[in-house]
Assembly symmetry: C2
DNA sequence: GAAATTATTGACCATTTGGTCAGCTTTCTT
DNA sequence: AAGAAAGCTGACCAAATGGTCAATAATTTC
């Protein structure tokens, strides 16, 4: 047990992880509401329920805290395309992908907003990740769609732009929830709103790609 | 000419308007890049090419400058739905609307980003406008779509959600240009990117609504 | 052309910001 | 039990921020 301590870890390391998670959870809320510049270390500390100096003990700088959070969010962001594989049925795969993206908007709206804010301001910290892993992922999945198109299994589309549209439509329910809520006279998008939104997006994408909703 | 001074106005008033426009133009750039909190009065002043105290002379506070800019942007935002009228051909009307929205993303990406940033952070200054004029506009245009649907001129859709999707897809080319650029290996979305994006969105929306591209 | 109005700006201010640090407590190791 | 290591935090700091203001310059107005 000298240096491993990975399995169930010592109580010390466990405590440490819990504290870090606690700080990141608070930071997600605060950064989502205020953006990077708008969030102050005092607010971040208050949100974590810890003294300010304690955040500096764990993360050093505000920027380090922010990039750590961003990295964890991007990892989540990237992990939703599993359903898109060559052997899959196009309609089913796209449906699963869209539903997964909508679930993410519903369950993690603050994470979505932190990501959106970063990209909106030019992605200074995320640019390299976007041009690296994300670009690779898009190329890989675009090839799958190209295959389906070539096989006549769906109508021709420009795969990357189809992804841009799907991202935009699904994330808008988290990122622009204030606008949607205002228009629909809700404090924020509710379950019914998400259900209708999902149906609308599915209709646009499936019909747009010449597909029928998957029978189950 | 005692109190009117509206036609061509005195040189004094004209100068005043020019200065205000100059400040707002700079502010659009700075607020788009940094958000409200991230933009400092010194940056805003530098972008306008004027001393800081001069901005305070014209606008009083940073907040007043920001809300003035936001109001002017919202006015632009609201003025693009003209094509959607009961007598119009659905395919033509939607095509014109989408093209207008894409043109706005192309030509005024910074204005779009200022708006997006405001909504992303809960629309504190814009909420009342969104729940007022915007909601009214959506209800009016939704009624037009309902009419088309009832008349069998297009497939059933949930009109407000169709608008949410169209806004999301078109604005993403301005607001998330950094992401799109990173994926496509461009510094920022270019003409070709916008052309392909427009085609993709038109395909999704028109086919999604059971319409054919308008022959012209 | 003198008085009044409007426009301009450098110097200044109180407050808040991200960050540091010395000293304290707790937990682990032997 | 004693020493070492890790965790914690109140008090503090230099820098930056939004905003003020008195002095000055430019235009109008009469």
């Amino acid at each position: 047990m000298t240096q491993a301590g990975n399995a169930q870890a010592g109580p010390r390391a466990r405590q440490r992880q819990a504290r870090i998670a606690q700080i990141l959870a608070g930071a997600e809320r605060v950064f989502a509401e205020a953006g990077f510049e708008g969030a102050s270390m005092s607010e971040l500390a208050a949100a974590a329920g810890l003294p300010k100096a304690n955040l500096h003990y764990y993360f050093g700088t505000k920027e380090a805290l922010y990039t750590t959070l961003l990295d964890s969010i991007l990892a989540l962001w990237l992990s939703a395309t599993d359903s898109i594989r060559p052997e899959a049925e196009p309609a089913e795969a796209l449906t699963a992908y869209i539903r997964a993206k909508m679930r993410w908007s519903r369950e993690r709206p603050q994470a979505s907003r932190v990501f959106a804010n970063e990209v909106l301001h030019g992605a200074p910290y995320l640019r390299s990740h976007l041009a690296g892993p994300l670009r690779a992922l898009v190329q890989e999945k675009s090839a799958v769609l190209e295959g389906w198109i070539a096989a006549g299994r769906m109508a021709p589309v420009d795969p990357p732009h189809l992804f841009f549209s799907i991202w935009a439509m699904t994330q808008t329910y988290a990122d622009f929830g204030a606008q949607i809520g205002a228009v629909l006279d809700l404090p924020e998008p509710d379950a019914d709103c998400f259900a209708r939104g999902t149906d609308t997006i599915l209709q646009l994408v499936l019909r747009g790609c010449g597909l029928e909703p998957p029978g189950r």
